[in-house]
């Protein structure tokens, strides 16, 4: 089992004098999977990533990456890891090619790796442009090129969609999906954009206030998301009363009427209750709770 894991964190904790950024976090990422690390800003995602990469020392707990125990300053495993942490940065006085050349030399990637990465991330036009003169989106592409240049076994990406336009986001999503499916690269990506991660990740970890609230795969997420029935009605109070008497609920009022927590197969019974009570309604539509709603429910509605 251990050899199948790309990342194994046990009771990972980081305390600062004023705040505990991460507390008792257990995390397992299997090789070859795309793992989405979800959380609001300040939830502890970046601190966790920094501990995974040996940039900061955990106050307690341990991390293994690609089977190697991560210790401060220990760098051997980093040759098999590509990463983008928080913001995309590069030496502003150096060109795109020169920035990538630094990565190539120190990861011992072959001579052609720089050209390959430039082509892969569509940076050809900017090859000889200084990094300081790149747009935010192209800086992000450069950072991704740096992370992927040496064909790492594990890619750790902190908010990889930052600064990218919608087309760029789709392109990077496809690129990461291709890496995982075709090359078996493990992708660990953090994001606060929940729908973005949900579209890509095989498994999700939801972190909140430094704690891992839940870890689940996409099927489990689908099954856990609440089923709702949307009922447009001019008399939502009457509808709620009638449905409560019949044992349905809970329900929430919205502008068009109400949303009832119920399965799609309950539609005939709900319709029957409303008709019997004489409550006017214009339709009943099954809805799946979206990921944002699920996330908010899980975190107690905190944003």
């Amino acid at each position: 089992m251990r050899g199948e894991l790309a990342i194994a964190a046990r009771s990972l904790t980081k305390r600062y004098p004023q705040v505990t950024a991460v507390e008792g976090l257990d995390l397992t990422v299997r090789r070859g999977e795309i793992y989405g690390f979800l959380g609001l800003n300040g939830a502890g995602k970046t601190t966790t990533i920094r501990m995974l990469l040996g940039l900061i020392r955990p106050s307690a707990g341990s991390v293994e990456v690609l089977g190697e125990r991560v210790r401060p300053g220990q760098s051997a495993f980093l040759g098999r890891v590509g990463c983008l942490i928080e913001s995309a940065t590069a030496y502003p006085n150096l060109t795109v090619r020169e920035n990538l050349e630094i990565q190539r030399r120190l990861t011992h990637a072959p001579q052609g790796a720089v050209d390959e990465a430039i082509e892969f991330l569509r940076l050809g036009e900017y090859r000889e442009r200084r990094a300081g003169h790149l747009s935010l989106g192209n800086k992000q592409r450069l950072a991704l090129a740096r992370a992927l240049l040496h064909h790492p076994d594990l890619v750790v990406l902190d908010e990889p969609a930052n600064g990218l336009d919608p087309a760029g986001i789709v392109e990077i999503r496809e690129l990461l999906r291709g890496l995982a499916r075709e090359k078996g690269t493990t992708v660990f990506m953090s994001s606060h954009i929940l729908t973005e991660v949900a579209q890509l990740a095989d498994r999700l970890g939801i972190v909140h206030r430094g704690r891992l609230l839940e870890e689940l795969d996409r099927d489990a997420l689908r099954s856990k998301r609440r089923a709702l029935l949307e009922i447009p009605t001019p008399a939502p109070d009457d509808a709620v009363a009638a449905l409560s008497r019949a044992g349905f609920g809970p329900s929430e009022r919205d502008a068009a009427g109400l949303r009832l927590t119920a399965e799609p197969e309950d539609v005939p019974a709900v319709a029957q209750v409303l008709l019997a009570a004489g409550v006017p309604f214009t339709g009943i539509s099954p809805l799946a709770e979206d990921l944002e709603d699920y996330f908010l429910r899980l975190t107690g509605g905190e944003v």
Partner: protein, 260 residues
Amino acid sequence: MFGDVLRTEFLKLRHSRVPWISLVALALGPLGLALFMWIAAEPARAKSLGLVGTKASLLGLAATWPAFLTMFTEVVGGGGLLLLAFVIPYLFGREYQEGTAKNMLTLPAGRHLFVVAKFTVAAVWWVIIVAAVSLETFAIGFALSLPGFTSSLAVTALLRTLELAGVAFLLSSFVGFMALLGRGYLTPLGFAIGTLALGDIFSHTGWAAWFPWSIESLLSGTLGPQVATLPVGSLLVLLLTFLLGVAATAAQLRWGDNTQ
């Protein structure tokens, strides 16, 4: 691996203006001295030049090669310490200022290699500046036709310049540590100014030979009688200071939390 790290550290300086700025900064020293020599050579000029002329007169300068080269060695000693307080923090602190420290520290190379490579780059940088400014000084001296030039004087002055440049470099390893600690340029600069002030104080206490930042003044003679050669104890203090500074820098990079 060290060769690769060193090459990348030199590559990071490409297209950067900072090495040129540092060269120009130290090159201004001999130009200022040339102005003093020019005034001292013709005291009548002092009257027409206001403050600068008065200052030059007050120094009681003689417009000769020995005086010119003595002042030049003092510029390299004192000015070098301040210049290195920019150069070394630039190499270390820029990684934090430009947000690239996290990139550097997630490369598969020992962190101590980056420290040694950056100090090596600083040493090469410093040697080039000192060589260029020495050439400039001799060119200025000949252009001013100063009297009293002898080859033995030139050799002695060059050796003293090298000694002072070496001392300035050995004293500067702690500014690398300060740049990592402060994650930028201000902390090391403050440290450099503070140690220069402490050096000044210690040079009047009889402990000048033992306090690292006073030793430079023994060689240059700026704060007391000049010594021909440094005592062995002072050399050991300098070497120990340098090694401790490098070790502290390496330790900070290896074990310090990098939360940039």
